[in-house]
Symmetry: C2
DNA sequence: TCAAAGTAGTTGCATTTGCAACGAAAAGGA
DNA sequence: TCCTTTTCGTTGCAAATGCAACTACTTTGA
Protein backbone atom coordinates (compact mmCIF):
# COMPACT_ATOMS: atom_id res chain seq x y z
CA UNK A 1 0.00 0.00 0.00
CA UNK A 2 3.03 2.19 0.24
CA UNK A 3 3.38 1.30 -3.43
CA UNK A 4 -0.07 2.65 -4.13
CA UNK A 5 0.68 5.93 -2.47
CA UNK A 6 3.96 6.27 -4.26
CA UNK A 7 2.24 5.60 -7.52
CA UNK A 8 -0.37 8.23 -6.86
CA UNK A 9 2.37 10.67 -6.00
CA UNK A 10 4.16 9.80 -9.24
CA UNK A 11 1.06 10.36 -11.34
CA UNK A 12 0.31 13.61 -9.64
CA UNK A 13 3.88 14.76 -10.13
CA UNK A 14 3.74 13.75 -13.78
CA UNK A 15 0.64 15.84 -14.26
CA UNK A 16 2.28 18.77 -12.50
CA UNK A 17 5.23 18.34 -14.84
CA UNK A 18 2.97 18.67 -17.89
CA UNK A 19 0.99 21.56 -16.46
CA UNK A 20 4.06 23.44 -15.34
CA UNK A 21 5.59 23.06 -18.76
CA UNK A 22 2.67 24.54 -20.72
CA UNK A 23 2.01 27.30 -18.24
CA UNK A 24 5.60 28.51 -18.04
CA UNK A 25 6.23 28.21 -21.78
CA UNK A 26 3.03 30.06 -22.63
CA UNK A 27 3.94 32.82 -20.20
CA UNK A 28 7.42 33.20 -21.66
CA UNK A 29 5.96 33.22 -25.18
CA UNK A 30 3.60 35.99 -24.11
CA UNK A 31 6.51 37.94 -22.65
CA UNK A 32 8.46 37.60 -25.89
CA UNK A 33 5.48 38.54 -28.04
CA UNK A 34 4.80 41.57 -25.83
CA UNK A 35 8.36 42.72 -26.54
CA UNK A 36 7.83 42.20 -30.29
CA UNK A 37 10.28 39.34 -30.36
CA UNK A 38 10.09 36.02 -32.22
CA UNK A 39 8.90 32.80 -30.59
CA UNK A 40 11.01 30.56 -28.42
CA UNK A 41 11.68 28.08 -31.22
CA UNK A 42 13.85 30.67 -32.93
CA UNK A 43 15.95 31.11 -29.84
CA UNK A 44 17.17 27.53 -29.80
CA UNK A 45 18.49 27.81 -33.34
CA UNK A 46 20.15 31.18 -32.79
CA UNK A 47 21.82 30.09 -29.58
CA UNK A 48 23.00 26.77 -30.97
CA UNK A 49 24.54 28.55 -33.94
CA UNK A 50 26.17 31.16 -31.74
CA UNK A 51 27.93 28.47 -29.75
CA UNK A 52 29.08 26.58 -32.85
CA UNK A 53 32.54 27.17 -34.37
CA UNK A 54 32.39 30.07 -36.83
CA UNK A 55 28.73 30.47 -35.95
CA UNK A 56 27.78 27.87 -38.53
CA UNK A 57 26.42 24.36 -38.52
CA UNK A 58 25.12 21.69 -40.86
CA UNK A 59 21.35 21.54 -40.99
CA UNK A 60 21.00 17.95 -39.87
CA UNK A 61 23.29 18.63 -36.92
CA UNK A 62 21.22 21.66 -35.99
CA UNK A 63 18.05 19.61 -36.27
CA UNK A 64 19.48 17.05 -33.90
CA UNK A 65 20.53 19.63 -31.33
CA UNK A 66 17.28 21.54 -31.22
CA UNK A 67 15.24 18.33 -31.36
CA UNK A 68 13.37 18.98 -34.57
CA UNK A 69 12.67 16.75 -37.53
CA UNK A 70 14.52 17.42 -40.76
CA UNK A 71 11.55 18.83 -42.60
CA UNK A 72 10.77 20.95 -39.62
CA UNK A 73 14.25 22.44 -39.46
CA UNK A 74 14.13 23.20 -43.18
CA UNK A 75 11.11 25.46 -42.76
CA UNK A 76 12.29 27.00 -39.51
CA UNK A 77 15.55 27.90 -41.24
CA UNK A 78 13.48 29.28 -44.11
CA UNK A 79 11.79 31.69 -41.74
CA UNK A 80 15.00 32.70 -40.00
CA UNK A 81 16.69 33.26 -43.35
CA UNK A 82 13.69 35.30 -44.50
CA UNK A 83 14.19 37.45 -41.38
CA UNK A 84 17.91 37.69 -42.25
CA UNK A 85 19.00 36.31 -38.90
CA UNK A 86 21.02 33.63 -40.66
CA UNK A 87 21.84 32.53 -44.16
CA UNK A 88 22.43 29.25 -45.91
CA UNK A 89 25.83 28.27 -47.30
CA UNK A 90 26.55 25.32 -49.58
CA UNK A 91 28.88 22.69 -48.19
CA UNK A 92 32.00 22.21 -50.29
CA UNK A 93 32.80 18.74 -48.93
CA UNK A 94 29.31 17.29 -49.39
CA UNK A 95 27.36 18.62 -52.31
CA UNK A 96 24.08 17.49 -50.80
CA UNK A 97 24.66 19.49 -47.67
CA UNK A 98 24.14 23.03 -46.46
CA UNK A 99 25.24 25.14 -43.53
CA UNK A 100 23.23 27.65 -41.60
CA UNK A 101 25.37 30.67 -40.79
CA UNK A 102 24.45 33.22 -38.13
CA UNK A 103 24.39 36.87 -39.24
CA UNK A 104 25.17 39.94 -37.17
CA UNK A 105 21.46 40.63 -36.95
CA UNK A 106 20.95 37.07 -35.75
CA UNK A 107 23.51 37.53 -33.03
CA UNK A 108 21.89 40.75 -31.90
CA UNK A 109 18.46 39.17 -31.95
CA UNK A 110 19.66 36.29 -29.82
CA UNK A 111 20.81 38.76 -27.21
CA UNK A 112 17.59 40.75 -27.29
CA UNK A 113 15.59 37.59 -26.85
CA UNK A 114 17.82 36.46 -24.01
CA UNK A 115 17.12 39.66 -22.11
CA UNK A 116 13.45 38.69 -21.94
CA UNK A 117 13.88 34.95 -21.88
CA UNK A 118 16.37 34.89 -19.02
CA UNK A 119 14.08 37.12 -17.02
CA UNK A 120 11.32 34.60 -17.49
CA UNK A 121 13.52 31.69 -16.49
CA UNK A 122 14.58 33.55 -13.38
CA UNK A 123 11.15 34.76 -12.40
CA UNK A 124 9.01 31.73 -13.10
CA UNK A 125 11.54 28.97 -12.55
CA UNK A 126 14.82 29.69 -10.80
CA UNK A 127 13.56 32.00 -8.08
CA UNK A 128 11.00 29.46 -7.01
CA UNK A 129 13.63 26.88 -6.05
CA UNK A 130 16.42 26.80 -3.54
CA UNK A 131 19.85 25.41 -4.37
CA UNK A 132 19.08 21.97 -3.06
CA UNK A 133 15.85 21.68 -4.99
CA UNK A 134 17.58 22.91 -8.10
CA UNK A 135 20.24 20.27 -7.72
CA UNK A 136 17.65 17.55 -7.26
CA UNK A 137 15.76 18.66 -10.37
CA UNK A 138 18.95 18.79 -12.38
CA UNK A 139 19.86 15.29 -11.37
CA UNK A 140 16.32 13.97 -11.82
CA UNK A 141 16.06 15.28 -15.37
CA UNK A 142 19.42 13.78 -16.26
CA UNK A 143 18.27 10.41 -14.98
CA UNK A 144 15.01 10.57 -16.90
CA UNK A 145 16.78 11.70 -20.04
CA UNK A 146 19.23 8.85 -19.80
CA UNK A 147 16.39 6.36 -19.47
CA UNK A 148 14.52 7.70 -22.51
CA UNK A 149 17.65 7.75 -24.63
CA UNK A 150 18.34 4.13 -23.76
CA UNK A 151 14.88 3.13 -24.92
CA UNK A 152 15.15 1.18 -28.18
CA UNK A 153 13.17 2.50 -31.14
CA UNK A 154 10.51 -0.20 -30.84
CA UNK A 155 10.31 -1.50 -27.29
CA UNK A 156 6.67 -2.09 -26.57
CA UNK A 157 4.80 -4.66 -24.55
CA UNK A 158 7.55 -5.34 -22.10
CA UNK B 1 30.56 33.91 -7.48
CA UNK B 2 28.24 31.45 -5.84
CA UNK B 3 25.56 33.47 -7.57
CA UNK B 4 27.17 32.86 -10.92
CA UNK B 5 27.37 29.16 -10.36
CA UNK B 6 23.81 28.96 -9.16
CA UNK B 7 22.69 30.84 -12.22
CA UNK B 8 24.53 28.49 -14.53
CA UNK B 9 23.00 25.57 -12.71
CA UNK B 10 19.57 27.11 -13.11
CA UNK B 11 19.99 27.63 -16.82
CA UNK B 12 21.29 24.14 -17.32
CA UNK B 13 18.40 22.73 -15.32
CA UNK B 14 15.94 24.77 -17.35
CA UNK B 15 17.36 23.36 -20.54
CA UNK B 16 17.16 19.86 -19.12
CA UNK B 17 13.56 20.55 -18.25
CA UNK B 18 12.76 21.45 -21.86
CA UNK B 19 14.72 18.57 -23.32
CA UNK B 20 13.26 16.04 -20.92
CA UNK B 21 9.79 17.20 -21.76
CA UNK B 22 10.05 16.79 -25.52
CA UNK B 23 11.96 13.52 -25.34
CA UNK B 24 9.57 11.83 -22.93
CA UNK B 25 6.44 13.14 -24.64
CA UNK B 26 7.68 12.08 -28.06
CA UNK B 27 8.50 8.64 -26.74
CA UNK B 28 5.08 8.22 -25.18
CA UNK B 29 3.42 9.44 -28.39
CA UNK B 30 5.41 6.85 -30.31
CA UNK B 31 4.30 4.16 -27.86
CA UNK B 32 0.67 5.17 -28.28
CA UNK B 33 0.92 5.34 -32.07
CA UNK B 34 2.59 1.92 -32.13
CA UNK B 35 -0.43 0.53 -30.28
CA UNK B 36 -2.77 2.21 -32.78
CA UNK B 37 -4.06 4.58 -30.17
CA UNK B 38 -4.87 8.31 -30.45
CA UNK B 39 -2.45 11.05 -29.38
CA UNK B 40 -1.93 12.24 -25.83
CA UNK B 41 -4.12 15.31 -26.30
CA UNK B 42 -7.16 13.04 -26.50
CA UNK B 43 -6.31 11.44 -23.20
CA UNK B 44 -6.62 14.63 -21.21
CA UNK B 45 -10.14 15.23 -22.46
CA UNK B 46 -11.29 11.65 -21.90
CA UNK B 47 -9.86 11.51 -18.41
CA UNK B 48 -11.24 14.89 -17.38
CA UNK B 49 -14.69 13.86 -18.58
CA UNK B 50 -14.48 10.53 -16.82
CA UNK B 51 -13.81 12.25 -13.52
CA UNK B 52 -16.62 14.76 -13.98
CA UNK B 53 -20.11 14.18 -12.51
CA UNK B 54 -22.22 12.20 -14.98
CA UNK B 55 -19.20 12.06 -17.27
CA UNK B 56 -20.14 15.39 -18.76
CA UNK B 57 -18.76 18.89 -18.70
CA UNK B 58 -19.28 22.28 -20.29
CA UNK B 59 -16.87 22.99 -23.11
CA UNK B 60 -15.34 26.11 -21.62
CA UNK B 61 -14.75 24.28 -18.36
CA UNK B 62 -13.10 21.44 -20.22
CA UNK B 63 -10.94 23.90 -22.12
CA UNK B 64 -9.78 25.44 -18.88
CA UNK B 65 -8.90 22.11 -17.32
CA UNK B 66 -6.94 20.71 -20.23
CA UNK B 67 -5.28 24.06 -20.88
CA UNK B 68 -6.51 24.68 -24.38
CA UNK B 69 -7.95 27.77 -26.02
CA UNK B 70 -11.66 27.78 -26.79
CA UNK B 71 -11.24 27.41 -30.53
CA UNK B 72 -8.80 24.64 -29.92
CA UNK B 73 -11.17 22.70 -27.70
CA UNK B 74 -13.95 23.06 -30.28
CA UNK B 75 -11.94 21.22 -32.92
CA UNK B 76 -10.52 18.66 -30.53
CA UNK B 77 -14.06 17.86 -29.43
CA UNK B 78 -15.01 17.68 -33.11
CA UNK B 79 -12.46 14.94 -33.64
CA UNK B 80 -13.42 13.03 -30.53
CA UNK B 81 -17.08 13.24 -31.48
CA UNK B 82 -16.24 12.09 -34.99
CA UNK B 83 -14.55 9.07 -33.38
CA UNK B 84 -17.67 8.57 -31.23
CA UNK B 85 -15.72 8.75 -27.99
CA UNK B 86 -18.01 11.50 -26.78
CA UNK B 87 -21.01 13.46 -27.95
CA UNK B 88 -22.25 17.00 -27.59
CA UNK B 89 -25.37 17.87 -25.63
CA UNK B 90 -27.16 21.20 -25.60
CA UNK B 91 -27.30 22.92 -22.25
CA UNK B 92 -30.86 23.53 -21.05
CA UNK B 93 -29.94 26.33 -18.65
CA UNK B 94 -27.81 28.34 -21.05
CA UNK B 95 -28.83 28.12 -24.65
CA UNK B 96 -25.42 29.23 -25.83
CA UNK B 97 -23.74 26.38 -24.07
CA UNK B 98 -22.94 22.77 -24.80
CA UNK B 99 -21.79 19.78 -22.82
CA UNK B 100 -19.36 17.13 -23.91
CA UNK B 101 -20.57 13.73 -22.72
CA UNK B 102 -18.34 10.69 -22.58
CA UNK B 103 -19.61 7.58 -24.38
CA UNK B 104 -19.00 3.95 -23.46
CA UNK B 105 -16.49 3.75 -26.27
CA UNK B 106 -14.79 6.82 -24.86
CA UNK B 107 -14.53 5.23 -21.47
CA UNK B 108 -13.06 2.08 -22.93
CA UNK B 109 -10.61 4.07 -25.03
CA UNK B 110 -9.44 6.01 -22.00
CA UNK B 111 -8.60 2.75 -20.31
CA UNK B 112 -6.81 1.34 -23.34
CA UNK B 113 -4.74 4.48 -23.59
CA UNK B 114 -3.97 4.41 -19.90
CA UNK B 115 -2.53 0.93 -20.22
CA UNK B 116 0.15 2.29 -22.53
CA UNK B 117 0.40 5.75 -21.07
CA UNK B 118 0.87 4.62 -17.47
CA UNK B 119 3.56 2.23 -18.62
CA UNK B 120 5.39 5.15 -20.19
CA UNK B 121 5.06 7.32 -17.11
CA UNK B 122 6.39 4.49 -14.97
CA UNK B 123 9.22 3.51 -17.28
CA UNK B 124 10.52 6.88 -18.36
CA UNK B 125 9.61 8.98 -15.35
CA UNK B 126 8.63 7.34 -12.08
CA UNK B 127 11.16 4.52 -12.04
CA UNK B 128 14.01 6.95 -12.53
CA UNK B 129 13.32 8.75 -9.25
CA UNK B 130 13.32 7.69 -5.63
CA UNK B 131 10.63 8.80 -3.21
CA UNK B 132 12.57 11.76 -1.96
CA UNK B 133 13.33 13.04 -5.43
CA UNK B 134 9.71 12.57 -6.41
CA UNK B 135 8.59 14.60 -3.43
CA UNK B 136 11.02 17.37 -4.25
CA UNK B 137 9.83 17.50 -7.85
CA UNK B 138 6.21 17.56 -6.78
CA UNK B 139 6.84 20.44 -4.46
CA UNK B 140 9.03 22.28 -6.94
CA UNK B 141 6.40 22.14 -9.69
CA UNK B 142 3.74 23.38 -7.30
CA UNK B 143 5.90 26.33 -6.36
CA UNK B 144 6.61 27.19 -9.98
CA UNK B 145 2.98 26.82 -10.93
CA UNK B 146 1.91 29.12 -8.13
CA UNK B 147 4.38 31.75 -9.29
CA UNK B 148 3.20 31.64 -12.91
CA UNK B 149 -0.43 31.80 -11.91
CA UNK B 150 0.24 34.86 -9.80
CA UNK B 151 1.81 36.63 -12.75
CA UNK B 152 -0.50 39.41 -13.96
CA UNK B 153 -1.57 39.30 -17.60
CA UNK B 154 0.75 42.15 -18.59
CA UNK B 155 3.67 42.37 -16.20
CA UNK B 156 6.73 43.13 -18.24
CA UNK B 157 9.81 45.16 -17.56
CA UNK B 158 9.71 44.82 -13.81
C1' DT C 1 -37.32 47.86 -19.35
C1' DC C 2 -33.71 48.13 -22.47
C1' DA C 3 -29.29 49.21 -24.27
C1' DA C 4 -24.33 48.06 -23.35
C1' DA C 5 -21.10 44.81 -22.05
C1' DG C 6 -19.67 40.26 -21.41
C1' DT C 7 -19.60 35.16 -22.34
C1' DA C 8 -20.12 30.50 -24.98
C1' DG C 9 -18.98 28.22 -28.73
C1' DT C 10 -17.92 28.25 -33.65
C1' DT C 11 -15.69 29.60 -37.86
C1' DG C 12 -12.22 31.61 -41.40
C1' DC C 13 -7.78 32.21 -42.30
C1' DA C 14 -2.92 32.15 -41.95
C1' DT C 15 0.82 29.73 -39.80
C1' DT C 16 3.00 25.67 -38.14
C1' DT C 17 3.58 20.81 -37.70
C1' DG C 18 4.14 15.75 -39.08
C1' DC C 19 4.62 12.19 -42.45
C1' DA C 20 5.85 10.20 -46.50
C1' DA C 21 8.09 10.61 -50.74
C1' DC C 22 11.44 12.65 -53.67
C1' DG C 23 16.02 13.91 -56.21
C1' DA C 24 20.72 14.33 -55.52
C1' DA C 25 24.78 12.84 -53.69
C1' DA C 26 27.79 9.86 -50.84
C1' DA C 27 29.13 5.28 -48.89
C1' DG C 28 29.46 0.45 -48.87
C1' DG C 29 30.27 -4.12 -50.87
C1' DA C 30 30.67 -7.67 -54.37
C1' DT D 1 34.00 -0.86 -61.23
C1' DC D 2 28.88 -0.90 -60.66
C1' DC D 3 24.97 -1.64 -58.13
C1' DT D 4 22.57 -1.23 -53.75
C1' DT D 5 21.88 1.23 -49.59
C1' DT D 6 22.10 5.24 -46.83
C1' DT D 7 22.10 10.13 -45.95
C1' DC D 8 21.01 15.19 -46.84
C1' DG D 9 17.88 18.55 -47.49
C1' DT D 10 13.56 19.73 -49.67
C1' DT D 11 8.74 19.39 -50.99
C1' DG D 12 3.54 18.09 -51.14
C1' DC D 13 -0.10 17.31 -48.60
C1' DA D 14 -2.97 16.62 -44.70
C1' DA D 15 -3.64 17.71 -39.98
C1' DA D 16 -3.24 20.72 -36.05
C1' DT D 17 -2.71 25.27 -33.93
C1' DG D 18 -3.41 30.38 -32.86
C1' DC D 19 -5.76 34.59 -33.53
C1' DA D 20 -9.41 37.45 -34.52
C1' DA D 21 -14.01 37.91 -35.88
C1' DC D 22 -18.68 36.39 -35.58
C1' DT D 23 -23.44 34.75 -33.91
C1' DA D 24 -26.25 33.84 -30.29
C1' DC D 25 -27.28 34.33 -25.84
C1' DT D 26 -26.91 36.12 -20.94
C1' DT D 27 -25.81 39.55 -17.54
C1' DT D 28 -25.37 44.13 -15.89
C1' DG D 29 -26.97 48.37 -14.52
C1' DA D 30 -29.08 52.90 -15.67
Amino acid sequence: MTALHLNELSNQTWKLFLTTHVMVIEQIERDLAAANLPPLSWYGVLWTLEKAPDHEMRLHELAEQVLLSRSNITRLIDRLEEAELLCRKRCPRDRRGAYAVLTEAGLAMRQQMWAIYSQGIARYFAKQLNAEEMNTLNQAFQQILAAVKETPVAALGE
